[in-house]
């Protein structure tokens, strides 16, 4: 790269005044951004700040309403992903755009030149994946692969198109620390080859570690362009949310001896070819503590959550006890009536019904546990709209849920705000036990810190909290004790203070817990 000052020649991509509006919302409002050859450029911003909209315009999925995209100095109109790829722009999506019923090679073939045979693509994919340290079997069905492996397909697929600019959307959210390190090495190799990378992430320490420059978006506008290495995590977060991000304050483990959730020798066969079998899981969560379960996606987290919430019943009643009561054979409602609360991983369709209003979602979850408040008319069970709306407003207030309109549909909220509502809906009941799966997946920094603080506060007030998460930062922020799930087996929980990232990473990768000191009162699982 030449140091010749204002020339456009040293810019691979330059955006000028790029604008996109949806109705009255200006998702992108006059965004300027330039990317140089051979740099890793971070795009930061909260959920709803306009990052995805911007990236979709770059990749030809959305058409801009105004402004200009210049590629290597000349203006271009990118009207389809195909054209974006022709130019040399490749993209790795956050929510993978893979075809589950097809094989790895077939998935890759779909985005490549038609004249290349599938057999050759399989060969190239294999050698490329080895060269960049991303091992892949080209003939495996995607449906059978883990999330980390699926991401590798996306990356290899993008690399095979020989792009000059690679857009990565939240690439590390599904990886173990070791896998993430390997990805960073791959990215640095690519940078060394002169390729540019637009890197979108919520993980600010990663951005500081690997990115050369950063552009920060807020409410669709560029609010800062900076060198992330000269900033701190706190100052970057501050730029994103336009103020200080509260750090989560946790108190030392106040866990008493009273166990509120006891799981003993829980084993469950997998219910579908793509599910994980749970094997002999033992865990105890005590009053006043937060127990966190780490692990790479697809190692039995959702199966464990389903078993704990009662969505799937255990074989015998006494393998799961809530507040001492054997609930293994009881459904979700009975468990909720015992004072338990559950927040599943998927917000849409599981945690909330997207096409229904917030108040309706309130009743759906709590019509039995709060029957006295929400229902009237005896057996007629007439909804008390006023009381329900009041409760929904209380949750919105308590969790600072940002919404438009009085009682919007769940689908109208951004991911982070809907998650705040769903978590708040459970907290509002003051549950004695709260089980949450991936509480801040895809949630921006401000909302995430709010949710984590709420979990910590709940434990402090004398409840038991079980957090299943893939985010190690989150786990270290909230947990008193940490266990790791791998291939459906759970390691013995250990005090968070004595756990290191390296050790968790090894357990996540399936290393035998040898030399591990068993957690207090827990026998190490010796199978």
């Amino acid at each position: 790269m030449q140091a010749s000052a204002t020339s456009e020649g040293d810019r691979l991509l330059a955006l000028q005044e790029l604008t996109k509006t949806f109705g009255s919302l200006r998702a992108c409002d006059g965004v300027d951004l330039d990317i140089r050859p051979g740099e890793i450029h971070a795009l930061l911003g909260e959920n709803g700040a306009g990052k995805s909209t911007l990236v979709k315009m770059l990749f030809g999925v959305l058409a801009p309403d105004g402004g200009e995209i210049r590629w290597k100095g000349s203006p271009v109109a990118i009207t389809s992903p195909f054209e974006a790829r022709q130019l040399g722009i490749g993209m790795v999506f956050q929510h993978f755009s893979l075809f589950e019923a097809l094989t790895v090679a077939e998935n890759i073939a779909l985005s490549l030149d038609e004249t290349v045979s599938i057999a050759r693509i399989a060969d190239e994919a294999r050698s490329l994946s080895q060269a960049y340290g991303l091992p892949l079997d080209p003939f495996a069905h995607v449906a059978d692969l883990s999330v980390g492996e699926r991401q590798r397909i996306e990356i290899v697929r993008t690399l095979l198109q020989k792009p000059e600019l690679i857009i990565l959307d939240e690439p590390t959210s599904v990886l173990t620390p070791q896998e993430a390190d390997r990805l960073f090495e791959t990215l640095e190799t690519l940078r060394g080859e002169g390729k540019s990378i637009l890197y979108i992430s919520h993980r600010l320490d990663e951005v500081r570690r690997i990115c050369d420059r950063a552009t920060v978006l807020r409410h669709g506008k560029v609010v800062a362009a900076c060198d992330p290495r000269a900033e701190t995590v706190a100052s970057l977060a501050g730029l994103m949310v336009g103020g200080e991000v509260a750090t989560v304050t946790n108190s030392p483990n106040a866990g008493t001896d009273q166990a509120l959730l006891e799981v003993a020798h829980l084993s469950l066969p997998s219910r579908s070819p793509f599910a994980v079998t749970l094997r002999d899981i033992d865990l105890t969560v005590r009053r006043g503590e937060v127990l966190a379960i780490a692990g790479v996606a697809g190692n039995g987290q959702s199966e464990l959550f389903d078993a704990l919430s009662g969505e799937v019943l255990a074989g015998t009643p006494d393998v799961i006890r809530i507040g001492g009561a054997a609930v293994g054979q009881k459904g979700i409602t009975q468990r909720r009536l015992l004072g338990a609360g559950f927040v599943p991983e998927e917000r849409h369709g599981h945690g909330a019904v997207s096409q229904m209003r917030l108040s309706d979602n309130m009743v759906l979850a709590r019509h039995r546990s709060d029957a006295g408040t929400f229902l009237a008319g005896g057996i007629l069970k007439v909804l008390k709209r006023g009381a329900i709306a009041k409760a929904a407003a209380r949750v919105v207030d308590a969790m600072d849920v940002r919404k438009s309109g009085d009682d919007p549909h769940a689908s109208a909220l951004s991911g982070g705000n809907l998650q705040k509502f769903i978590v708040g809906r459970e907290l509002d009941r003051k549950p004695v036990l709260l089980v949450v799966n991936q509480p801040t997946w895809g949630v921006d920094a401000g909302a995430a810190s709010r949710i984590r603080q709420a979990l910590v506060d709940l434990a402090r007030s004398g409840s038991a909290v079980l957090v299943i998460s893939q985010d190690l930062d989150e786990i270290f922020e909230v947990a008193h004790r940490i266990a790791v799930i791998h291939h459906g087996r759970l390691s013995a929980p250990e005090p968070a203070a004595s756990m290191s990232r390296e050790r968790i990473g090894l357990l996540m990768g399936g290393a035998a817990p040898d030399g591990a000191s068993p957690g207090p009162g827990e026998a190490a699982d010796a199978h």
């Binding site: 992903p81 999506f93 755009s97 075809f99 589950e100 097809l102 779909l110 985005s111 579908s272």
Partner: protein, 306 residues
Amino acid sequence: MGLFEAILFSVMTAATPLVLAAIGELVVERSGVLNLGVEGMMIMGAVVAFAGAQLSGSAFVGVLCGLLAGAAFSLLFGFLTLTLVANQVATGLALTILGLGLSGMIGERFIGLPGVRLPVLNVPGLSDVPIVGRVLFGQDLLFYLSIALVVGVAWFLFRTRAGLKLRAIGDNHGSAHALGVPVIRTRYLAVLFGGACAGLAGAHLSLVYTPQWVENMSAGRGWIALALVVFASWRPWRLLAGAYLFGAVSIGQLHAQALGIGIPSQFMSMLPYLATILVLVLISMDRRLTLINRPASLAQPFVPER
């Protein structure tokens, strides 16, 4: 022709319209579209094929007319569900009802007329082989075409890039669109193919199976073809096997009735349909089979984000 050979021959004849209609619908469903109008397209194919053969005097012109009628009728379905994004289930049902009514109207003047039968094309040398010779090589154009279509569709879906794209659209139309695969255009072509195949199936009914025009002569075969696609778990070769199995059941019940087995004839006539239900239940018990093969975006509307 011995009795066994005659039975085999009639099984093939009974199965051919099912193969034709089902292989078309298989391609439609693989692209993620559920067209429940197979019965309607089939009966339209039957009546127009019969009319075309009557007016021109040539059964081959009749076959061509049946094909075009089925395709034209499916184009109506495509326009409603793909361009106007109408509900596929409701539109397909409407198509069936419309087809049954419209065919009755068109066919009124043809009732009772003697039909033009599609000639038998013997494969030289092979059609004289004992037992299977006539069954496999002494058939009509539509029989050979049905086999060729199964082979062709299997090759197209799993060996060509265009087939891969079609399966990708059926699995996840949003991602396919993001990759620049033309979702709507591919689906239009698939729907047209499905319609043409259903039209051919209809032509087989009115030119081969019973060479005359009878109102409602499709008699639920379009529905059996739909069930066959699920039975075959969206795979062409299994579909062929399934169609002959159903052909055997329907012919078998006729012979059983003729032999005077002491079971009410109404019950025997129910057998093919009972077998359909039974097989569908059995198939849906194997979850993996369905998960890998069932087009995940089946019957879901697609509106590109722009």
